[in-house]
């Protein structure tokens, strides 16, 4: 999917300014950004709920058209179902709105309801279910019509860890079956865990985009965490004078000296060799920037 030069304004307020994204088929794409950055506006444009002032969206190379609705599944952050409608009827209705036939929808729904162990809820009303239960129904409704593109806005909020895991596994399975998944969340650990690519939107502009690994490389600091067991600490300090060193603490089971080393242009194996001359190296790892750190750094700069 391609998003090309999208601009959207509401009156005086600019929601999106010249935003372009390129989303690889069959990947999980993390759409990040602080509150009010324009993520929801972008998602609504992709869903054809609103239309951009400028720019275009392409799905499978075709400009977005009304008939693409059936290829897209959307789970909004503010979940909603008809409170006084029965679960089964409601799911059938929403599936039919997405273009499924009644028979087909019923077959697929039964499959999903059985998989999630909620077939007993078919005749219950949403208002009788707990929040987490309703979320499960919502998830099924979103993925039921096997869309090519799935958009999840905060998919895990409201789920307990067991159910969150269940949903995570289902999302990964859908990806493996070829669905493209756009994933908008503030839970950075799930971005680390699941996303192949990310984009960061701030103040209605895209500021970062790319494969997660590449983005991390951009924000690489070449700082290494080092733990050494040594009784010649002062000599070691002198030997490391060419590097910037800071005391650091990280989790370790040994009673070692912990510090961080900013490598700069130097090679890590050179550092390691120096370290080895002074004692036993218990920890040596690059301090990889987390998505969380990248997010904060990018947004605050």
């Amino acid at each position: 999917m391609q998003v090309e030069n999208i601009t959207k304004t509401y009156g005086q307020k600019i929601a999106l300014q010249d935003v372009s994204l390129s989303i690889t088929k069959g990947s999980i794409y993390g759409l990040l950004g602080p509150n009010g950055a324009g993520k929801t506006s972008l998602i609504r444009i992709i869903n054809q709920i609103t239309y951009p002032d400028k720019g275009q969206v392409f799905l499978d190379g075709e400009p977005l058209q009304p008939n693409h609705i059936k290829d897209i599944g959307y789970m909004p952050e503010e979940r909603g179902l008809y409170k006084s409608m029965k679960v089964g009827e409601q799911a059938l209705y929403l599936a039919q709105l997405k273009g499924m036939s009644k028979v087909e929808a019923k077959k697929e729904l039964t499959k999903w309801f059985e998989k999630f162990g909620i077939i007993d809820w078919w005749d219950k009303k949403i208002q009788e279910l707990s929040k987490g239960m309703a979320q499960k129904v919502q998830f099924i409704v979103t993925v039921l019509h096997q869309p090519k593109l799935l958009i999840f806005d905060e998919p895990f909020s409201g789920f307990d860890p067991v159910n969150a895991n269940l949903i995570k596994d289902e999302i990964l399975k859908l990806r493996d079956k070829g669905s493209t998944i756009i994933f908008s969340t503030h839970r950075m650990e799930s971005v680390e865990e699941m996303c192949d690519d990310i984009a960061l939107i701030n103040l209605s502009k895209k500021i970062i985009e790319g494969p997660l690994v590449e983005v991390k490389k951009q924000y690489r600091t070449f700082v290494y965490w080092v733990g050494v067991k040594t009784n010649r600490q002062n000599e070691l300090k002198q030997a490391l004078e060419i590097y910037k060193i800071k005391e650091a603490t990280f989790k370790s089971l040994d009673n070692d000296w912990q510090f961080s080393v900013e490598l700069g242009e130097n090679s890590p194996s050179e550092l390691l060799q120096t370290l080895l001359r002074f004692g036993e190296v218990t920890h040596f790892s690059e301090q990889i920037p987390t998505v969380n750190e990248i997010f904060i750094k990018a947004v605050s700069s």
């Binding site: 509401y10 009156g11 609504r44 869903n47 054809q48 709920i49 609103t50 009304p66 609705i69 897209i72 959307y74 909004p76 503010e78 979940r79 909603g80 179902l81 008809y82 409170k83 409608m85 209705y93 929403l94 039919q96 709105l97 997405k98 409704v141």
Partner: protein
Amino acid sequence: MSVLNLIIKREFIAKVRNKSFIVMTFVSPLIFVGIAFLIGYLSNMRSEVKHIGVHDESGYFIDSFKNTSSYQYEDVSHITKSEIKDSLLSKRWEGVLYIPKLDNFKDFEKNVEYISEDSPSLGFVSQAERVLSDKLTKENWSAQGIDTLKIEAARIDVDLNLVKSSGEETVRGLNEIKIAIGSGFGYMIMMFIVIYGNMVMRSVIEEKTSRIIEIIISSVKPFHLMMGKIIGTTLAGLLQFAIWAIVGGILFFLAQSFFGLNTSSLQQANELTQQSPDSMAMIKMYIEEIKSLPLLSMLIYFIVYFIGGYFLYSSIYAAIGAAVDNETDTQQFMFPVIMPLMLAVYVGFFTVIHEPHGTIATAFSLIPFTSPIVMLMRIPFGVPAYQIILSIVLLLGTFVGMVWVASKIYRIGILSYGKKPSWKELLKWLKY
């Protein structure tokens, strides 16, 4: 199945399954009939007998006041005026007519008094005045040597026969029926618009607050959702109306066969006629008159105006529902919606009844916001075809325009949360 059909179906089923629909369909006619009977009973209820004293010093009127079921007259000429005032305080009489002794008949005009604690009813006053005037006039004639019998014999009373230009003879009282049916239909349209318009509005607000709106409009166009909602609710309304029409038709048929057949059996007819000759004849006459009205075409007009008026207003209601977050915020927008409806009903009740084809009635039956109600009230009186066509065309045109405006507001409104928009903002939304 197209999405519009799906939405219509869902809305229809959601409305019809709702308990309030069932209650309204089956209980409200009962309540209506109950209230009608109650009002009829209360207004026909015999009030307690009022005792009126007549203190007649002139001696002309002792026999003039006849006792009725409501008023009993008593000669109190032997009691003095000051005593009368005391006895009035003791509530022996409701009031006392005090007629002094005067030589000149003309002097009676200003000198008869009615003394009472409470103000008498207008009916009683004019009744008493008529009795006094008639009696005095006759006495005056005799006194002046005019032959009273000749005058009575020369008196001529005219009863107008009401004939339509089409030639058929109409029965007296038909206008009452026309007014009743016209007002009934007009009033019913207003009630439907208010009740079902509110339903549309509430259902929009419900979708907005439950946030399902975002899921739905990621599948369908907001315009389809709005129209589906309006049409689905209309169908529910029409179903309700159909149930009422069928039940009403059956009741009418039953009433007709009850009164019609029973009178054909001689004995019962005699009995009934003896009991209440007037009311029996009245009921038969009314049934005949209702049958003589163009009921079918009126029903068709009712449906046309109902759909037009209802669509017009419910698209406004839908837009209001979309613009706000909860029902309490709707107040500021409701008044301009209710106002033309109220105006239409008042114009109907006060103008159409007196002058069904006057300028005001005609104008309001063409203005789309009032035409569904006012025109329906006029139709039983016979409206030229070109006026009906013009008013329907205007109504449909406005309806299309209004739906366009409403769908613009709706499209923006359903996704805006947290603030109560002003009229100015709503206008701005039209430009998005």
